[in-house]
Amino acid sequence: MTQHELSSVSRGEPDAAHHPAHTPLLLLIGNPNTGKTTLFNRLTGQNARMGNYPGITVERRSGDLTLRAAGAERVVEVVDVPGAYSLSARSAEEQIALSAVLGWAENPRPDLCVLVVDAGQLARNLYLVTQLLELDVQVVVVLNMIDEVRENPPNAAELSRFLGVPCIATDARHGKGLLELERAISAALELPARRALRINYPPALERDLERVSAALPSEWRGSAARARALALWALTSVEEDDELQGVDPALRTRCLEVRAQAGARDIDQEVIATRYALIDAELPKLYPRLESHPKKRKTSERVDRVLLHPVFGFAIFIGLMLLMFQSLFSWSDPAIRLIEACTSMSADFVEAHVPESIVRDLVTRGVIGGVGNVVVFLPQILLLFFCIGILEDSGYMARVAFLMDRIMKALGLHGRAFVPMLSGFACAVPAILATRTMERQRDRLLTMLVVPLMTCSARLPVYTLIIGALFPPSHLFGWLPVQGLLMIAMYLFSTFITLISAGVLGRTAVKGRRIPLILELPPYRLPSFTGTLSMMWRRAAMFLREAGSGILLFTILLWALLSFPRPAHVDQPPPPAAAIHQQGRSVPNPQLASSPAPVQGPSAIEQSYGGRLGKALEPVLRPLGFDWKIGVGLIGAFAAREVFVSTLGLVYGIGDADENTTPLRDKIRHERSADGSAAYSPLMGLSLMVFFALSCQCMSTLMVVYRETRTLRWPLFMFGYMTTLAYVASFIVYQGGRLLGF
């Protein structure tokens, strides 16, 4: 029988700075899915500040809690630590929880740890509790989701007696028990007292711990209990090839030595089994009745029999996903149209009231266009995060991962990557933002890198123009429309390449260690709309703040590239307002569109730096079948893929062209090369579509990847691999096609 002891209460610890000006820091820690974030929102009133943990791109959310005790107000900073099942770690990412608790690696030292426990999953949650209590830090335990175990609730007072720290039962979703929790927090801050849990391990392990303790660096020895706990942590975390940060070399050597000398003994099992034996022995005393299959769970299991059914389950799943996709793809349309109309109205307004000048062009084409380019993403971001919020909150997101994991696993991805991947069919920008729903950095990165290969809605105008211009409406076998078939083929092609790329990149560039997939299927719950709305708002605000300025800047740069140097006299239409994001729907100018200006001499855009760059690129693009005009279009397409259409229009002297503009189609169809043959063949059209399918012609995507990874390395890598892929594939299509005689 395992024993444990509660060491004497230590007061006035030297490591907590208690001067009056100090704002106390409170950490919320716990396993994933314990309602930690809901509690955080309840405590802080959803005024979260977003940041990153030092040295790692993991989101750090903090907010302020105002404690009102004994008439006095006291503000406490609360940090929501990423969910963890254990403090032992092998990567820097898994180390975050421990670093946050101990104030390592530039993390501020917390005054109190609030450990959130799912009352319905007590045994597994108590494992983390024992680890934390061994560390000799001040802890308040929250027995959350107590409403879900109403028929047989664990006894908070009994648990408090066992652990030796305050335990408060709460129901954060419905705001119950919060007052008691705030009172307990106040009391704990008022009278700092730590109680270390001492678990007696097998004698051989105790001897190992002493040896490891002796090698601890001096700054790791807070108290005897802390030193012992850190020795345990190091012994069960350090490996030959771990990626831990800040572990002293001497300690590392000692840990590896001790493990090597353990022989037939199994140190990991000794530690973990001893902790669980302690928990198992205590658990029956915490419940009124010996039954722990809560009713809520039984109801959920009955629902799952339908929702996870091989036939009905998948039918419902496909239906829900189609609904989500439809909302992203079509329902966002009116809002996008409105934003585009506002953008072009503002530009028109400026043009009508300000005399023609370079500054006016900068304002209308660069600034207004750039702002439009940013805001135009909002409808899809808001809609996607609305869907994600509802899916997560209701518990269905975990089922999506459960249903799709078999397929995603084959690609080296987590089941949770499915929703971001699917959203990639609408637009890569919200899809990349959605990767934050995945816990592991490597999974997020891999998903981010392949999502831009999916056929997004911005590629459609390009395909429509090319297919409309170069592929006459004919029928295969007399009934299959060739144009429609081509469109479907492009979708299948891009999906296929995405899946292949995920498989390849996951085994090369973002090779991750094999870690077990851990998935919990939480009971179904009614989603919280206020929580979802506040999350939508936070995500949108973050996008505007972080990616907005970059997208605006790039729009202005592209405008300048296609506008300078200015031609001597302007009789050509101006360069494109890059603000035409979706479907290239700028407000058409019927006069210009219906009567193409005869092209005499080079157009303004041809003389610009962008035009010259296009010409300089021609030798490189030739093997793909492209001429310099296409090259200029490709440069313009960086603002957003569909801007290719209007840029190409400008090259031909057609203003405000969209993919259905007849003159532009005719121009492409009748363009002649020097020898009088048709310049653009269907084969070149196919090559161009393949290029668009695979290349990363989208600065917004690159900008968002930069903001999410906080390093230039990944956006550059993404641009590099996608451009290479596009070039090689187009080359094969064009040259292969010519060899075959097309």
């Binding site: 099942y85 092998r90 597994r124 099992q269 669980y276 091989p310 077990p516």
Partner: protein
């Protein structure tokens, strides 16, 4: 016998957890230590992952991971006193497509 080979609804006892280093430790930290009783309560329609009931908590792991967990047929020994194993044998039997639960490689 390993965990991936057990039938849905069958209660077994963990005898050994294989695998290396942090991977194995993670499985044990989730409660799969030798001596623990486990029940497979469901299998995803495509055959993977498996849903387990361990110490009264539900948990899904992949078949590949479940293969690292050796199990024996779980007789209820008198030493077992954790409350989590009562009244849960009826769950989830209809979730699995026929044959998948027992067709581990």
């Amino acid at each position: 016998m390993n965990l991936a080979q057990t039938q849905i609804g069958q209660i077994v006892t963990v005898t050994h957890v294989a695998g290396e280093g942090s991977f194995r430790r993670r499985l044990m930290e989730l409660g799969l230590v030798p001596g623990t009783r486990v029940e497979v309560i469901g299998v995803a329609p495509l055959g993977d992952p498996l849903e387990l009931l361990v110490r009264g908590s539900s948990l899904s792991i992949r078949r590949a991971e479940a293969e690292d967990v050796s199990v024996g047929l779980g007789e209820v020994s008198s030493a077992e006193r954790a409350p989590e194993m009562t009244g849960c044998a009826q769950a989830g039997g209809s979730l699995a497509p026929p044959g998948l639960a027992s067709s581990a490689p």
